[in-house]
Symmetry: D2
Subunit: 257 residues, 4 copies
């Protein structure tokens, strides 16, 4: 039995993409005619429907499309980058980081593992093994009660993928949701959650410019689930993490006042 009631305001999603592969390589452009960001955004919209308003932003827009006002109106940001991590402005990275610590969700996809924003939030090198040889990836759920795993088969298969293998130099995730295997015998912690400050982060490794992974129905479902999971929870009174003039974060006052 379903009831009818006013739904909450839709989630505001910003899908960020470097957006250069698609302009430099005709094969990739044909695979992702609306860009990798377009495919990711379509997948989210497909699942969340009226529950989400999805926009995109890319590297070569002013401020990479991530102005203060865009971020202020973003509940969850997804991030895909590969060729040009070092060209991302440190100022924008710090702006995103502050928003995540203040509560914005962040979904880091595939080669985004080496983005400035992810390595900065993790504190580690985020290095891994890789091999681009069309491996078959099998994605296994190891946290079956987790909402990010809802509705996807156990396991699901991506027929061709770049191999990402351990050791993946990340902090032990707060929750390990997926582990993948590859044809070569490698394994990878492919779905990992991290809470940082007031924000939630999900890293999901499937996805590459050389394979149509963002058209894969289960990959799309996982990303949509992750967006829902990472959204800030209601009008909570969160601890205030204040960025002062001196560059340090501070809270003040007595605890029990």
């Amino acid at each position: 039995m379903a009831t009818t009631q006013a739904s909450p305001a839709p989630l505001r999603i910003t899908v960020w993409n470097e957006g250069r592969h698609e302009r430099q390589n005709a094969t990739i452009a044909a695979r992702y005619p609306s860009g990798i960001h377009g495919a990711v955004a379509e997948g989210i919209a497909e699942h969340l429907g009226e529950g989400a308003v999805v926009r995109t932003a890319t590297m070569d827009e002013p401020e990479h499309g991530l102005t203060e006002s865009v971020l202020a109106e973003t509940d969850v940001l997804t991030w895909w980058g590969h060729l040009s991590h070092r060209e991302v402005s440190d100022e924008v990275v710090e702006r995103v980081r502050r928003r995540v610590l203040a509560g914005m969700g962040l979904i880091v996809l595939h080669s985004g593992h080496w983005s400035k924003i992810f390595t900065r939030l993790m504190g580690t090198t985020c290095t891994l093994r890789w091999r681009n040889a069309g491996d078959r990836e099998v994605v296994w759920t190891v946290a079956p009660s987790h909402p990010i795993a809802a509705g996807v088969p156990h396991p699901f298969v991506i027929e061709q993928q770049e191999m990402y293998g351990e050791f993946f130099d990340i902090p032990a995730p707060d929750e390990l949701v997926f582990i993948s295997s590859f044809s070569g015998g490698e394994v990878f912690r492919s779905g990992c959650t991290f809470r940082r400050g007031n924000g939630k982060i999900f890293y999901f490794s499937p996805g590459d410019q050389d394979y149509p992974v963002y058209h894969h129905p289960h990959v799309r479902r996982v990303i949509a689930n992750a967006v829902t999971w990472a959204a800030p929870d209601g009008p909570a009174e969160k601890p205030r993490l204040i960025h002062s003039e001196t560059g340090w974060f501070e809270t003040g006052g007595d605890a029990t006042a």
Copy 2:
């Protein structure tokens, strides 16, 4: 901006209570005129409204009110017991355990830490320190991005409470959401999540027959949040955990078929 759409079916909540203190002691009966279960159920209904259908069950009903059919129609079960843990039927405990491992959420409250169902699911003694002397409890959020902490102040205060202190002999929780302090200087991991099988468990320590804790607005909000968090997530294809005739659980077949 809110949109109008069909809401999902309401959560089906069963609030379980031993229900004996209230019948044996006039002071407690006056404090909880509809029973501890009544107060817990009211708090949930207050927050979830049409999003939940709440029923109650108590110790002295046949099968403790937890028949197979009641459990089959329960998404989340809350548990309060104190005087009579050992009188709870082993058969019912195993029935509840199987449902939790199959995906039903479980919220264990206060003195439920020594219930058969909680100790059986944890595998440890679940012992703790305690003192019933009207301590002031201050509840601090240590996972501010967790949905169970949404909407409650940091910290919130319970003016009078039974003291529960460390060492609390539980497995390290998957997520530690709240830590409490008490007037005597004790600390307690008062809000803890645990994933087990396909199910989610939340232990929350505030609440006692000798204090009006289940009328406390923030305690009610936390319990309602926990119920929402612990609900099974959609029509996921979960791993099958099968209870065979021999008493063992089994899954079979090849992994990637």
Copy 3:
């Protein structure tokens, strides 16, 4: 530069084995001429030398060889069983469990995942997928700073093994040390730590009666590392977990006295 000083008393290890496969099957007996327990004990002695005193105990000894006095003199117990989990006496299981919660280390090997002692301590079904078809297992380290992973290559390979695959129905481990892949594309959390009460538990999946896995040098190194890790740490003043006459565990008194 090494100094000479009095070493601590050697660790007291008890290697427990069901010990029936080796008596019932000539091929297995040839593979493990001193029993699976013999091979495990040799591997530990090989690595720990004078630092350990290793004895064995088996199913068909009185009280399964695990009397109160044997357990009282055991710092770390290793457990291998397969055919006869249900024949292990509940009384002995409870005795072992109490010793683990009081501080004794426990190493559970391979098919021991379905032992009474492991499922009782975990609280879950501990079920998994399996296939006995000579898969190649590749064992990857995902916690390179963990002492249990010291000295083994990343990855190491077991040429022939029974496949154990996810979903493995255990609580999320406190620390995930190893993940294995198998020829069929399955993955498995093959090395997991769990703290329970005052004791430490390590589950390690490699090892089977049908393959010479306990003669494998890296498997032996891991088990020896795990024994060292799981040993109780010095003369600590641990929380007292008391088993009272009523069957409940209790601690008493004020916290800060």
Copy 4:
């Protein structure tokens, strides 16, 4: 019974301190006549004896006393700073970070929570509440099987301390060992482990320039325990985390070669 055998080479410990409070304030100088670093070093030496070689380094030495060669010969580094976090050279911080990720242990003490090295490794703000009013701190063990808690009472009391309270903006620790309470009712996760890359990190909050905390016997024991725990484990073949000319860390090659 103890045996005599060659001991392993002693641990090489470097105790780092800002070292300015003691030069600027006669009261603090009287409290810590050999500096805070001197007191920390004495406590470690007291417990580890011939098992450790302890040296110190301070802010105002060239390269803060942390040259490449000093770090190359350091197994575990302890860090205390307060007044001058921002004056620590970014180059030295990055050098220390690379050594931690390569396997060196790091113990961060008290106000070191806002050091560049700790915030860089955590990725969060590491902010907290504080009040310098001589609170009584009670330190409770919540991981009684952890070697860092060995040999200290549960709880132990520090009669006068600066208050540090939640929310402490750190990643959820891999293992939570201690929780403290303060006179004002605050709580704090006062002993936390973090694995990062090949290295181990322990944060321990007790200790302040205004109180004689580093003369406290249990505080000394915990720091000595932590040093032992954080030491690299043997000649392990660790994953290689390579710092390339481009500033990125890389590993290469096939996984199973």
